[in-house]
Subunit: 109 residues, 2 copies
């Protein structure tokens, strides 16, 4: 969370329920997409948790909406999004939000 | 996610690393706080995941910043926040964000 001390910046909140399909393929793609996201212009960070029932929340952080749109339309990512809808996810509400305040515990400064 | 189709609204993104302390007390308080949050004016929803290593993301949704401030300062919640810093959490960055876009898969309409 090092670059995330100074709002405003943007968060993509992605909540998803996994199907039981294709666990290996899913995990490989998830790792590949996280690596690829880190290389994109405007990427600030990502945090992801999934519980034993397959429900997960991933939040990625970006400098601005243009960076989010560019990532959404990145070619490899588009292919994985199609696979996600077809195979991996039962549902995934996705929300784009402008972070206005950030507080840390313990205080970093 | 029924009331969350029409941005703008606000999200509180709370990421936390649990200590190993007081598992029972933590779980009871977490449940009590979620029930209490649901009763607050301006509450829209909450989603929470924690993995086996104790890392968790909770996102709660609110109509506006005034509702978030009121919840932050709710008396029982203040007491639990103190306990959280003392006993339950190693760290918890907290971010407040204005949700500007929401997309659902599968489409609800």
């Amino acid at each position: 969370m090092t670059q995330l001390d100074n709002p405003p910046y943007y968060a993509v909140i992605f909540t998803s329920q996994r199907t039981n399909n294709d666990r290996q393929g899913y995990l490989a793609a998830a790792e590949r997409m996280e690596d690829l996201a880190r290389e994109q212009a405007g990427f600030l960070g990502i945090e992801s948790v999934r519980d034993v029932d397959g429900f997960g929340i991933t939040v990625s952080y970006w400098t601005d909406l243009a960076a989010i749109d560019a990532w959404k339309n990145q070619v490899d990512h588009l292919g994985v999004q199609r696979l996600g809808r077809k195979e991996w996810y039962e549902s995934y509400p996705l929300q784009i939000a402008r972070v206005e305040r950030a507080v840390e515990f313990p205080p970093s400064r």
